[in-house]
């Protein structure tokens, strides 16, 4: 009995490398490379938007829909862009900026639209590429992207005078 148990364990140990999925081995040998800025969440606007900096309270008011227009002279209607539920970026925004759950977020905008205080509901898009394209095309749009997903078609604004790479920047997102 004891011998058979020992044999079992020995056999199992001997076969373990073959049983493990190959991806596990590969990931152990070659950990995925983290792109620069992948953990930073950039707040992005349309290239024509002259706004360079927002304070955290201002950003929160915009994301809550309490501000409907960019300040003059730009004056464009603000269109908030959100990623679909399930994206870590969205979860980070709900946690950091809204401090709400998904349900609370949905109720907030439903109630805001119902009372008329929120002029337009957020636009929900399926991917960071979609967010980039939408913001590129809509002058008053604002959204969020991983810094590694940002390209020259959108403009990153400072939050509390800090860009995503700056020390003390507050908006971060877990790796995908």
């Amino acid at each position: 009995m004891r011998l058979s148990c020992c044999l079992c364990i020995l056999v199992a140990l001997a076969l373990l490398p073959g049983v493990l999925p190959r991806g596990t081995l590969e990931s152990a040998a070659y950990p995925p490379e983290e792109k620069p800025g992948e953990r930073n969440l950039a707040i992005v606007v349309n290239l024509n938007n002259p706004v360079e900096n927002l304070s955290t309270p201002e950003l929160r008011r915009i994301f809550l829909g309490e501000r409907g227009h960019w300040p003059n002279p730009y004056g464009r209607r603000i269109t908030l862009v959100m990623l679909e539920p399930g994206w870590p970026e969205r979860a980070a925004v709900l946690s950091i900026i809204y401090q709400m759950s998904e349900t609370e977020f949905n109720n907030h905008f439903l109630h805001g639209l119902f009372t008329g205080e929120v002029f337009v509901s957020p636009k929900t898009l399926a991917s960071p590429e979609g967010v980039r394209k939408f913001i590129f095309n809509v002058p008053g749009a604002i959204g969020y992207l991983r810094e590694s997903d940002v390209d020259k078609t959108v403009k990153v604004i400072r939050i509390d005078e800090r860009l995503p790479d700056d020390k003390g920047y507050k908006f971060h997102v877990p790796l995908r």
Binding site: L3, A14, N107
Partner: protein, 461 residues
């Protein structure tokens, strides 16, 4: 390794021969593992590095081929755009003038331009509707011990909330409500018990110039206090099964001009962290001959040229998120039949604190009626306080309300004194469905107190 596996096999066989009492499961496990071991060993033993490098080479070759195809597609798209795009889209023009470098002729731009769907063209596309519809409804089982009342199931208001973004600055908003039962206007009942009717409760076109100035025309909920503009006709939004008595609708025995038709301006007041807002309204006001008319809200024709005015100011200080404090002043001149005109003033104040998991609503108001030519003014004070706290899906709540109208009140002599507590429990069965159970105790002047119980399911769809 092969040797060791073979020796293990032999050892196992020896062990099996010498010890017939070995449990069957151990044998089966060993047999199973040994059975698969050659396969697994074969996977490992077939020169893994050479195989992997071959696979990598194949994959790299495949990636290169796909990249070449993508480049070809991009070139074709660019060519198509060049042939079709004689007239550049407005967004493309903006792009050229934008400060970003090298924004033309890139594949990403081509992809982007494919996504462009000019809003104007979309709005003019008659094959699409621009309406967004959200619905609210409720069904209630209620009963009380007041003489003549019967325990009943009641279909509540079926509320269709319809909006449309007309343009960047204009928006349409409406609430179309189907509701059953007779109306009760200042104590006068009209209509049949079980017939449904349609009311357009809100009907607004809004112009939003900026955050400091918005203008709306149509029919709205008057900005008296807080409750009236926070919950409108949705039972699902409100914590309790019903509105506080003070804010009952005109056709449900309410004493306020809940709705009005006219013009409304609203917006922020530059006030930094204080978060001041204003609402200024001018409208037809409430019909003062309501018992004799069909509709207390003067939708089409005002009974007089004098207009009602309302001014509301409130603050949402940044330091205390969820707090709103404000007041409003409403003025109108009523013109009842067979009696002198009555000056009406409604002064209201509120302090509410609302967070997703906690709410505390406090409102007080006084309705003042001063018949012209008489020195007497009739004051009807009222208030309510409501507190609730969310525990998971459960939300217990308490409310106390009070209103005290004079028996000789010239406009609503039926109201009198009524006050009492309500206690309830709301259960959010899903994100869109709430079940509420509420008990009300209402003390009345010179009448027996009323105990009432209501079970309601409220939902949005």
């Amino acid at each position: 390794m092969k040797l060791s596996v073979a020796s293990l096999n032999q050892a196992f066989l020896r062990d099996k021969q010498s010890n017939c009492s070995t449990p069957r499961w151990t044998c089966l496990l060993l047999l199973g593992m040994l059975g698969v071991s050659p396969t697994l060993w074969a996977q490992q033993s077939e020169a893994p590095t050479a195989s992997d490098s071959q696979t990598i080479q194949l994959l790299l070759q495949r990636v290169a081929e796909l990249e070449a195809k993508v480049r070809k597609i991009d070139q074709l798209e660019a060519r198509i755009k060049q042939l079709e795009g004689e007239k550049p889209a407005p967004a493309a023009t903006a792009r050229v003038s934008s400060p970003a470098p090298a924004q033309t002729n890139t594949p990403s731009e081509m992809e982007t331009s494919q996504q462009e769907m000019p809003a104007v063209a979309e709005r003019m596309d008659l094959s699409k509707t621009l309406l967004r519809i959200r619905g609210f409804g409720d069904i209630t089982l209620h009963g009380d011990d007041q003489k003549g009342d019967r325990t009943s199931f009641s279909l509540g208001q079926l509320d269709l909330f319809v909006t449309s973004d007309i343009s960047e600055k204009f928006k349409f908003l409406s609430e179309i409500v189907f509701e059953g039962g007779p109306d009760n206007i200042y104590g006068v009942t009209r209509g049949q018990n079980n017939v449904f009717a349609v009311d357009v409760e809100r009907y607004l076109i809004e112009y939003s110039h900026n955050d400091y100035f918005k203008l709306a025309a149509g029919r709205w909920h008057t900005a008296i206090g807080y409750y009236n503009t926070a919950y409108h006709h949705s039972t699902w939004f409100q914590t309790a099964t019903d509105r506080p008595f003070l804010f009952n609708f005109e056709d449900r025995g309410g004493i306020l001009p809940i709705h009005s038709v006219g013009l409304s301006a609203s917006g922020l007041i530059p006030s930094g962290r204080l978060g001041l807002h204003y609402v200024a309204e001018v409208g037809n006001g409430r019909a003062s001959r309501s018992p004799l008319t069909d509709e207390p809200v003067q939708n089409v024709i005002d009974e007089q040229s004098h207009k009602a005015y309302n001014l509301a100011l409130f603050a949402r200080p940044e330091a205390i998120r969820g707090l709103q404090v404000g007041f409003s002043v409403y003025r109108d001149l009523l013109d009842p039949l067979n009696s002198p005109r009555i000056s009406e003033s409604i002064l209201a104040a509120h302090a509410v604190f609302t967070r997703p998991s906690f709410e505390w609503l406090n409102e007080a108001l006084v309705v003042r009626h001063s018949p012209l030519g008489l020195s007497r003014t009739f004051n009807t004070p009222g208030f309510y306080s409501q507190v609730s706290k969310q525990f998971g899906s459960w939300r217990p709540y308490l409310r106390y309300q009070y209103v005290n109208g004079s028996d000789t009140e010239p406009v609503f002599p039926d109201v009198g004194l009524r006050h009492g507590p309500s206690a309830g429990l709301r259960y959010d069965a899903s994100e869109s469905v709430a079940v509420k159970l509420q008990y009300d105790y209402t003390a009345l002047r010179r009448q027996n107190a009323v105990n009432a119980l209501a079970l309601q399911i409220g939902f949005t769809f």
